[in-house]
């Protein structure tokens, strides 16, 4: 299945682009996506380990066990909320 991943500050700088289009096996969960990203993008893996992101699938906050579907849009944003 095809999914898109949007990376917010600071994650996208480790990859060099804001959006990724990826192909995952059917039934993949967010944990599988992160494992894939860790493998493909070591610099991103380091960022995520240092500052775990808030993860959204579509409009909703998600966790590692959230199942992904074809066409899913995932957004990884930093955990921050000051001013």
């Amino acid at each position: 299945m095809k999914i898109t991943v949007r990376l917010a500050e600071p994650y996208w700088r480790a990859v060099g682009k804001r959006d990724l289009e990826l192909e995952l096996i059917a039934g993949a969960r967010l944990t599988d996506l992160l494992a894939f990203l860790n493998q493909q993008y070591p610099a991103l893996s380091k960022e995520i380990a240092e500052t775990p992101p808030l993860m959204f699938v579509g409009e909703t906050a998600a966790n590692m066990e959230t199942a992904l579907t074809d066409g899913a849009h995932i957004h990884l944003v930093w955990q921050i909320g000051g001013g």
């Binding site: 917010a8 996208w12 808030l54 921050i80 909320g81 000051g82 001013g83």
Partner: protein, 618 residues
């Protein structure tokens, strides 16, 4: 070294100036910056009789500039000062905090604090130089915009001159006028620029003097190096140095927590994301002794924008094009307006127009979301008090010109428009914070930002002093975390240290009480423990509570905009969230308990007596 703190009292009506040292007890109790400002504000307002009777624009309203205890030293991010007076915007205590280079220059010129009384007969400015104060005529300066005024003053007095000025908004007593230093650094909140304008005071100029004397130079140098090293390893410091505060927009927007179209909606366009703003930035700038460098110099002729401006002159009024939002940012800075209040008040007026509560007869022309040309003109009209701009120049007090229902749509607390673009209906601790903030709706007083992090229980307990509920959407233990944030942010304001290196603001690390103690003893010789230092924060909050009580504020004023209680958030992750009125009252009880106040929000008599003893000895 026997540390001394110098206060100059300047009466613009009589031309008299006198300089005195702060009494040791009061200095230790309040340190400087916001703390001593509050003590002096209570002193001078009460000296006039009934503080409630002191019109904010009267000569009796003291305008106090107070540098932090560490400001101008090499302590990390110690650039800041507070400006305080009775606020013409909210009618309660007014207090604005500002960075840049002015406060360090003021201290080097020989003054830790200025208390400006009276009213000059003619437009004037103050020149502080090598321990001397002159009141000079400002005829050629009056009418100038912010940067123009600063350049003229630099041309008159030479390189090394740093000025805090008002723009046309302050001159015209616009109730949300700021005092500006540099192109963007603003003592923005509460209309301190309008108070300055009411005194016929265009600028305070500082120059000359030597380095600020410190108690243990080598110890301070070592503390600086160690703390700087630690700060530079912090992720938030690194990222703020790269893209500044606009980085927060995307996070809040994804969540569905960006105040949009006066909080009728809760998310907006991606055009206001940090990397879009970065395209218009050619340099990141810093304040005195800063290790963060968070301020953009933009390619459209100004500095900024900050996250607050991105949201409030962007999403909140429906402006999506990045360049238009930045140009509005530059405009409010040039005119000397508080961006937060300006964006909130214009958004409010737009919704009133949308609902038919005001019409073209009142506005002069249609007031539509996202209409850049109209907004640009309206901001100028506010600053020069022309047409409908004259009405909006009254800020929240413009409600008196509108139908009573207009108040239902006003995003303000204690008559101060909300400072930041975060819709607080989701994180309940954020909501409690703006409800109890002593100057009105403001995130910089006490926002418990760690609510966004998924910190382990033991880490939360270590920060806040005891175990607490990790659910950011629940109502439990929010009194604890808001009171904790209140205290440490107040201490940072007393020291002149920036929020972006203060523990609890965007990070559980950064500088905490122990690091502050190390800096204080090295800079001044004053010894504190983390516990005794926190007492300074508590005392500052208590003094602010007394000030506001003098203006008639009670528990009923610790509340939220009607919309935050009654309208559920419409979209995204935050959908359905609002503030439950009963649960809110429970949070308030918890907060008062944490502060040691009674359930009506009043201080114990013994605390008031102690504060008044300290203030009497100032």
């Amino acid at each position: 070294m026997n540390f001394k703190s110098t206060t100059a009292v300047i009466n613009l009506s009589t031309g008299e100036t006198r300089v005195a040292e702060v009494a040791p007890d009061a200095l230790r109790a309040y340190l400087g910056g916001r703390g001593l400002n509050m003590a002096y504000l209570r002193h001078y307002l009460r000296a006039s009789g009934d503080p409630k009777q002191v019109d904010p624009f009267s000569p009796q309203n003291p305008l106090i500039f107070g540098a932090g205890l560490l400001t101008g030293t090499i302590s990390p991010n110690a650039a800041r000062f507070n400006v305080s007076a009775r606020s013409p915007e909210s009618g309660i205590l007014g207090d604005a905090n500002c960075g840049g280079f002015f406060a360090a220059a003021m201290r080097k010129a020989g003054f830790d604090r200025l208390i400006i009384l009276g009213r000059a007969e003619r437009p004037s400015y103050l020149l502080l130089e090598d321990g001397k104060i002159q009141i000079l005529e400002a005829d050629g300066l009056w009418g100038t915009k912010v940067v123009e005024a600063q350049e003229q003053l630099k041309a008159l007095h030479g390189a090394g001159t740093v000025a805090a000025v008002i723009g046309p908004a302050g001159e015209n007593r616009v109730r949300m006028a700021a005092i500006m230093t540099g192109a963007k650094n603003a003592a923005g909140r509460g209309g301190m620029g309008a108070v300055m304008g009411s005194k016929n005071l265009k600028a305070v100029v500082a120059r000359g003097g030597g380095a600020i004397e410190v108690s243990q130079k080598e110890s301070l140098r070592i503390a600086r190096i160690q703390q700087q090293e630690s700060l530079k390893n912090s992720k938030i410091v690194q990222i703020l140095g790269r893209v500044g505060t606009p980085l927060l927009y995307e996070v809040s927007n994804r969540l569905g927590a960006i105040r949009t179209r006066n909080s009728q909606e809760n998310f907006f366009e991606d055009t206001l994301n940090a990397e879009e703003i970065e395209k218009y930035s050619d340099k990141m700038l810093a304040c005195t002794s800063c290790v963060v460098h968070c301020r953009h110099r933009n390619t459209l002729g100004g500095e900024g924008p900050e996250y607050s401006t991105v949201g409030l002159l962007g999403a909140n009024i429906g402006i999506a094009p990045t360049d238009q939002m930045i140009m509005l940012n530059n405009l409010v800075n040039e005119l000397g307006l508080d961006a937060s209040s300006t964006g909130t008040i214009i958004g409010w007026a737009m919704e009133l127009y949308q609902r038919g509560l005001i019409d073209d007869k009142i506005c002069g022309s249609p007031l539509k979301w996202g209409d850049y040309e109209t907004v640009h003109g309206l901001i100028e009209d506010i600053a020069y008090r022309r047409g409908f701009g004259d009405t909006l120049a009254e800020s929240t007090q413009a409600a008196r010109f509108f139908p009573p229902k207009a108040r239902d749509y006003l995003i303000a607390v204690k008559n101060l428009p909300q400072s930041d673009p975060h819709d607080v209906r989701y994180f309940k601790g954020f909501a409690l914070g703006i409800a109890v903030s002593s100057r009105g709706a403001d995130h910089l007083r006490n926002r418990p930002t760690l609510e966004v992090f998924k910190l382990p229980d033991e880490a939360r307990a270590a920060v806040y002093g005891r175990a607490n509920d990790p659910d950011p959407n629940g109502y439990k233990d929010k009194g604890l975390i808001v009171a904790w944030s209140d205290d440490i942010y107040a201490v940072a304001d007393c020291l002149g240290i920036c929020r972006f290196v203060t523990r609890g603001f965007n990070s559980p690390h950064l500088l905490g009480y122990q690091e502050f103690c190390d800096l204080i003893v090295a800079a001044t010789g004053l010894e504190f423990t983390p516990e005794t230092l926190r007492q300074v924060g508590r005392r500052t909050l208590d003094t602010e509570r007394l000030l506001n009580a003098d203006f008639g504020l009670t528990r009923a004023d610790d509340t939220l905009p009607k919309r935050y209680f009654d309208d559920p958030m419409p979209s995204r992750q935050t959908k359905g969230h609002h503030i439950d009125r009963e649960q809110f009252q429970n949070m308030l009880d918890d907060y008062y308990d944490e502060r040691g106040w009674d359930r009506d929000g009043r201080l114990p008599e013994s605390t008031q007596t102690e504060i008044d003893r300290l203030i009497a000895a100032l």
